[in-house]
């Protein structure tokens, strides 16, 4: 015993007492004598002991209060910002910030943060858990305490620690049993083993597994039934077959002799010269119409005709290059002639009637005129 006590790895001296009264007495005495690093152990909380141990009032109540307020503030911010700022929607005639309707969410978030947060603070910050390596674990002492013993430990690091004196103090107060408690040598030499091959293999395994699952879910699983319900729906898509109609086409042409809403009848079908002679551009070259024309030209015409209509297609020879729009021929055409080409197409250039409204076609022509003028600018234009 004597030799052991001098060992450097002594954690403390402990004693088991048989009932709550005795443990209260010895605790009182130990506190009185001015020990600081001691602890009392029992398998249930003993009333009055905190007072005897001169423990400070537990701060958890205040912590819960602060966390609760934070939960409420977070909830208020979340509901206010999402419903009134980021994506305001009027629902049920309520104002954007309808506080009464947010109260339930605020309340739940308050309770959630306060209770879970306080528990986490207690376990992981105040108690510094998990701590399965504490020297008290797996000792005879702990086993007695967890059944019916009441134990007290005075740690060796206490300033007033005196091995002999403490042992005699304990037996004087009627200790049932006295144990010396040591740090186990492994514990003292314990080093975290982050770079062990086993651990690294485990990490690699985790990475591969996560990658595989991510790939599988995003690229395979969501294309299997029933997850693909958005991909396959009870309807026909463009270009598909349909048994509903005699000709087997799902897409239907307009009924003969009708003009769809918003469209008008083009009276110069196949008559470019008539169109050139009769059609007049209804738009004036204003900033707005030119902007519209530019936008539509860049979208629909520039892939083939080039950004400036010079016939420099961006299609890498996948489609024959069109002629330039700056030839004398085109520059001398009337607007109606160009309108006719956009509407009907010309040779291999397709019709744009279905993509562009009449107004948009005229706006494009205004823009082409502007291009023609700017590429053939004369000196007086600058003056």
């Amino acid at each position: 015993m004597e030799a052991n006590s001098l060992k450097s790895n002594l954690y403390g001296v402990s004693a088991i007492f048989s009932d709550t009264k005795k443990i209260a007495e010895i605790t009182h005495k130990v506190a009185e004598l001015g020990y600081k690093n001691y602890d009392v152990h029992s398998s249930f909380p003993i009333h009055n002991l905190p007072k005897k141990m001169k423990l400070k009032w537990s701060p958890l109540g205040y912590i819960a209060f602060v966390l609760g307020i934070s939960g409420a503030a977070f909830g208020l911010f979340l509901t206010w910002w999402t419903m009134s700022v980021d994506y305001p929607l009027i629902i049920g005639g309520k104002p954007w910030f309808s506080f009464p309707a947010f109260v339930p969410v605020l309340f739940e978030l308050t309770v959630l943060l306060a209770s879970v947060g306080t528990a986490i603070v207690m376990l992981f910050i105040i108690f510094k858990f998990p701590n399965p390596k504490h020297p008290l674990h797996d000792t005879e002492y702990m086993k007695r305490v967890s059944v019916d013993g009441f134990g007290i430990v005075i740690e060796a690091k206490d300033e007033k620690f005196d091995y002999e004196k403490i042992r005699s103090l304990f037996s004087e107060f009627g200790a049932e049993k006295i144990f010396d408690i040591y740090y186990s040598p492994e514990e003292l030499n314990y080093k975290p083993k982050v770079f062990e091959p086993k651990f690294i293999v485990f990490l690699i395994f985790l990475v591969v597994l996560t990658a595989f699952i991510g790939y599988f879910v995003n690229n395979k699983l969501f294309y299997m039934p029933p997850f693909d319900f958005m991909l396959y729906q009870f309807r026909v898509n463009p270009q598909e077959e349909s048994t509903l109609f005699a000709d087997g086409f799902a897409m239907r042409p307009p009924v003969k002799g009708t003009v769809a809403r918003g469209q008008s009848f083009y009276q110069f079908k196949g008559q470019p010269e008539e169109a050139a002679a009769n059609l007049i551009n209804p738009l004036l070259p204003t900033e707005q119409t030119l902007a519209l024309g530019q936008k539509k030209f860049n979208t629909f015409c520039s892939p083939c005709h080039g950004w400036r209509g010079e016939g420099d297609s961006r299609l890498n020879q996948q489609f024959p290059n069109p002629p330039s729009l700056h030839t004398d021929k085109v520059r001398n055409w009337t607007d109606g002639r160009i309108y006719h080409i956009i509407t009907e197409g010309q040779n291999i250039m397709p019709s744009y009637a279905s993509q562009l409204s009449e107004e948009e076609r005229w706006a494009i022509i205004l823009y082409i005129r502007a291009l023609q003028r700017s590429l053939n600018a004369k000196l007086e234009d600058v003056q």
């Binding site: 029992s42 249930f44 909380p45 509901t79 376990l123 399965p132 029933p226």
Partner: protein, 453 residues
């Protein structure tokens, strides 16, 4: 928890004044002995029920909720009925563990742990139903305010979203409350077991708890804080569940009495369920001196009281239907009592209000078989209460051309059976894997009574 109060002498909560080591032994026994054939039989039955439910739900998952009997105008049926039913079952646990704790009712010690566990299992079971109900459970993430590529947020003014928050908070907080209570007991089991594998598990679960009084000091404060938060929480949860109905404008749903009425009903059915299960547990595991007949009698008194609150609510609903002079409101209630679902209504009234009156007799309150039967009836009645509220109301709304009846399909019924299977499987597994009674609390209570004598 043991605290020094100025108590008047009351009957010992734990009979026979057992020693501390006896308490440890009695509570740890189910975890250390090999289960009997009866245990496996019970587990077999409940897992078969669960399996049946899983298959029925599998069909629903694959083919969609068209497998159910729901249709216009009855868009909510078994899915929502079961959800409300199971959430209600959970409420007894929190009431026992938190509210009775704040009210210093020490008789709760023997049953608190168990009741809390049942809360968690019931809320898990309940929480599955909204997932089933949405039909595409893998998209349920959109119920939470997660930033997404659509830049859309959930509608915080909707009672259904309040529900998401209430139920998930309830589950989390109940779990934390329960787990905090379990930590000292896991530590006790860790110190007790000689099996290396079990020791590792208990060491992990107990976080290295070492019965320190410096820790108990904070622990008791935390317990108080958690009880303090769980109490308004439990009241809020069924209140918010009732908002799912009350905030709508359907006659029969749109009533201000719903929140208190739902909370009372929840406690009522929950106590019925806890009482039933405890009767079986105490018998099978010889815990009759820890879960005493006095405790059960007290629970029966709670059942009687809450049953009458529910009965009062039924009466008031009728009164208001007449007093409001609103013809739609009156129609709904007359239809409930005399219409196509009248049988469901009268099952509800007789089970919830009539039979529970037998608890006025002390003899019935204290004899096991009658109280067990009444407990079962309470739950039958409460399930039908939710059925009456949800289905009868929807089946006849404003437009007579819309009226229809609801007939559950095999899949509806299968999922209901499966939910019982899930709940009981969890309960049965729980009894064998964790201490069903809080060891530290029971010891504390025994200690107090030792001093009194």
């Amino acid at each position: 928890m043991s605290r020094d109060y100025d108590y008047t002498i009351e009957a010992p909560i734990i009979e026979q004044n057992p020693s501390h080591s006896h308490i440890n032994d009695a509570i740890a026994r189910p975890l250390e002995t090999k289960p009997t054939w009866k245990y496996y039989l019970a587990l077999g039955i409940s897992t078969s029920m669960l399996l049946f439910g899983v298959v029925c739900w599998g069909y629903t998952f694959y083919y969609g909720i068209g497998m159910w009997g729901n249709n216009q105008p009855i868009g909510w049926a078994f899915d929502i009925v079961n959800f409300v039913f199971w959430i209600g079952i959970g409420h007894a646990g929190t009431l026992i563990s938190a509210i009775l704790f704040l009210l210093r009712q020490r008789w709760r010690t023997g049953i608190a742990r168990f009741a809390e566990a049942m809360t968690i299992f019931a809320v898990i079971t309940a929480g599955l139903f909204p997932l089933f109900h949405v039909g595409r459970p893998w998209l349920a993430g959109y119920l939470f305010p997660l930033p997404n590529q659509h830049h859309l947020w959930i509608n915080f003014t909707s009672p259904l979203i309040w529900d998401v928050f209430a139920v998930s908070t309830y589950l989390t907080v109940s779990f934390v409350f329960w787990y905090i209570g379990l930590i000292p007991d896991f530590a006790m089991l860790r110190d007790r077991t000689t099996n290396k594998f079990k020791k590792t598990i208990y060491s992990i679960l107990s976080f290295g708890w070492r019965h320190s009084n410096r820790h108990w000091h904070h622990y008791e404060m935390l317990y108080l804080v958690l009880a303090g938060f769980a109490t308004p929480l439990v009241l809020s949860v069924h209140t918010i569940v009732s908002f799912d109905f009350a905030v709508s404008i359907l006659p029969g749903w749109h009533t201000t009495i719903f929140p208190p009425y739902f909370v009372a009903g929840a406690v009522f059915s929950g106590f019925g369920m806890v009482q039933n299960v405890l009767i079986i547990i105490r018998k099978v595991f010889d815990l009759e001196h820890i879960i005493t007949i006095d405790t059960l009698e007290k629970m029966n008194k709670v059942i009687l009281a809450t049953g009458m609150m529910v009965g009062y609510a039924y009466a008031i609903e009728f009164f208001i239907a007449w007093y409001s002079g609103n013809q739609f409101e009156s129609f709904v209630f007359i239809n409930r009592a005399l219409g196509n679902y009248a049988w469901a209504y009268w099952v509800m009234v007789s089970c919830n209000v009539v039979f529970t009156q037998l608890f006025w007799f002390k003899k019935i309150r204290r004899s096991i078989i009658p109280m067990f039967i009444i407990g079962v009836l309470v739950n039958v009645g409460m399930w039908f209460e939710r059925f009456v509220i949800v289905v009868t109301t929807l089946s006849k709304d404003f437009l007579p051309t819309n009226w229809a009846s609801y007939i559950p399909t095999l899949y509806d019924t299968g999922i209901l059976i499966g939910s019982f299977g899930l709940f009981f499987t969890l309960v049965i597994l729980f009894i064998r894997t964790m201490p069903v009674v809080s060891i530290s609390e029971v010891k504390g209570v025994v200690e107090i009574f030792k001093k009194q004598h």
